[in-house]
């Protein structure tokens, strides 16, 4: 067979396709492995207990949230940013969860952007749960949040669980929250 230009291009096509599918297969495999606590990058990433640091929060009525109100009982804090696709998808999950939440579980969205942006976000996507503003990123910086969305379960003032990224398995989240 003559190794001409067409044969070279054909080989290039086959090689590119094979390399692409191999690479994306590896990525998918790695992501599947990442689910769980040990070395996880998304989903439930920590069950290490640590006290909830000091915070300054403002509610949607622009009133400051009392200093200890998030330290009593079980509180789920969901950090979101507006216009972030995974956050929008997460907001839908949290709205459903809020609707079904038992009385002993309080659920709050937490934003770090300007209240006007958050209000638009709440209205645009018809969020069913209350959204607070973390003033000056005081809490976000104290617990070192970089990923949005991120979720924290606070039990009597102690952070007991941390989730990173949007919820892919709502049933698993409900189990992890003790709702099923």
């Amino acid at each position: 067979m003559t190794w001409n230009r067409t044969t070279s291009l054909t080989a290039l096509v086959v090689f590119t396709a094979a390399a692409g599918f191999f690479a994306t297969g590896l990525i998918a495999h790695k992501r599947t492995e990442a689910v769980g606590v040990e070395g996880a990058s998304v989903g439930l990433v920590s069950t290490t207990r640590r006290p909830l640091p000091d915070y300054q929060m403002i509610g949607d009525d622009m009133q400051e949230v009392p200093a200890d109100s998030l330290r009593h009982g079980r509180v789920l804090l969901v950090y979101l940013t507006t216009s972030c696709d995974p956050c929008v998808q997460e907001a839908g999950v949290i709205s459903r969860l809020y609707r079904d939440a038992p009385p002993d579980l309080s659920v709050y969205g937490v934003g770090i952007e300007k209240p006007a942006q958050l209000k638009t976000f709440v209205k645009q996507f018809d969020l069913k749960f209350p959204v607070l503003v973390d003033v000056g990123l005081q809490l976000a910086r104290a617990i070192d949040i970089h990923h949005f969305p991120s979720k924290y379960l606070v039990e009597d003032g102690v952070i007991t669980k941390e989730w990173r990224g949007k919820t892919r398995d709502e049933a698993a989240l409900r189990r992890q929250l003790g709702l099923q």
């Binding site: 044969t7 692409g20 994306t24 995974p86 934003g111 949007k166």
Partner: protein
């Protein structure tokens, strides 16, 4: 044997499929945080993204 035109078309399709498969969600590249009272205003910059989350680093405004 494939013609040159078909080879190029296949190559384009393969690259497009690869890009579509690895496409990630939309994350704003930059936003500013709230400021009240003693709260400091930060600007947050997108440093990474995935289908699952947007990853930001926030810096105190100069």
């Amino acid at each position: 044997m494939l013609s040159l035109r078909r080879s190029i078309a296949l190559l384009v399709i393969a690259v497009a499929a690869l890009l579509a498969q690895t496409a990630t969600a939309y994350c704003p590249s930059r936003f500013q945080t709230a400021q009240f009272g003693d709260g400091q205003p930060y600007t947050c910059w997108l440093t990474g993204q995935d289908d699952d989350y947007c990853y930001y680093d926030c810096y105190l405004n100069a």
